[in-house]
């Protein structure tokens, strides 16, 4: 089960990108597209676009690293919140069962639970930022590799230069062709 709107949106985006890439016609080679799906930038590197390759690879590595780091933080704070919540709700069962519970314990647990909730909210926001960054990186990367052509190293021939020269009674069009 995938929990949360952000998670579902990210999973759906990733699936859409993969499907679009798999189904759509590719200007670049299939091999470079697959490489870019695995790690953004590698397909561009194979096609000779090294600057774009460096940009996409850096963005992907930063996004993945940030995502895992923030996910670990979020998992910890969410677990802490769930523990505090479990303790807090257990007071209702204890008092209903006839056991006396200190008011200070109930209030301090509530404060801890509130604090853990706020921290989890904060950590979740940062986790979602990195999910968004990762989705955008992959999406732009896939679009780029699908639309780009391999850099063969050939230099396009220069356009023939054309100039216009004014004469006393008119003008002369001069086109220079180099061999």
């Amino acid at each position: 089960m995938i929990r949360g709107k952000t998670m579902r949106a990210a999973a759906a985006s990733a699936a859409a990108i993969l499907l679009a890439t798999a189904a759509g016609p590719a200007a670049a080679g299939t091999s470079s597209v697959l490489k870019s799906i695995v790690l953004p930038g590698t397909g561009q590197a194979q096609d000779g676009h090294y600057t774009r390759a460096a940009i996409f690879a850096s963005a992907a590595i930063i996004s993945w690293t940030g995502l895992f780091a923030t996910q670990i933080n979020y998992a910890r704070s969410a677990e802490k919140y769930n523990n505090e919540k479990r303790t807090y709700l257990s007071y209702a069962d204890l008092t209903a069962g006839g056991q006396v519970v200190l008011q200070e314990d109930i209030e301090s647990t509530y404060a801890e639970m509130q604090s853990a909730w706020d921290q989890a909210d904060h950590d979740e926001t940062w986790r979602n930022v990195f999910i968004g960054a990762l989705v955008v990186t992959y999406a732009v990367n896939i679009v780029d590799i699908v639309r780009s052509k391999p850099d063969t190293g050939e230099v396009a021939p220069a356009e023939p230069s054309t100039s216009l020269e004014w004469r006393g009674d008119g003008f002369r069009l001069v086109r220079t062709v180099r061999f």
Partner: protein, 129 residues
């Protein structure tokens, strides 16, 4: 879509496993609970300790809303194990008579009310004469 070499397939599977680990198995924080529906007892007031004779001590206090209080607990502050409070006794009325085997002069005592919802409230403290 096919991966042609085993190394690339492994890499893709690792990537997929990472995505699944992130999206599927993570704990989340949802449904902040409503405050518990329990009644907190009022804090006792005017808590005084008198020493009518020898080692007998009278504990008296007032309570603002006795209808939601089902009893009281009296503690010797700092008298328990590990420095905690030691329970001296329980009563259902706002008075308590205790006889100690020795003088408890200058020792601090506390009284807490217990609500009908079994919540033990805040303590009122007094020093024995």
């Amino acid at each position: 879509m096919r991966f042609h070499s085993p190394r690339r397939s492994v890499l893709a599977l690792v990537l997929l496993a990472g995505v699944l680990a992130v999206t599927v198995g993570c704990p989340s924080h949802e449904d902040f609970p409503q405050p518990l529906d329990v009644t907190y007892p009022p804090k006792p007031t005017s808590f005084v300790i008198t020493n009518p004779q020898n080692f007998d001590y009278d504990f008296n206090w007032s309570i603002s809303n006795p209808s939601i209080v089902k009893g009281y607990r009296i503690y010797l502050v700092g008298g328990g194990a590990l420095g905690g409070d030691e329970l001296i006794g329980e009563t259902t009325s706002p008075t308590f008579l205790a006889t100690f085997p020795l003088s408890v002069a200058n020792l601090t005592f506390a009284v807490r009310a217990i609500s009908t919802d079994n919540v033990e409230g805040l303590a009122a403290v007094a020093v024995a004469p």
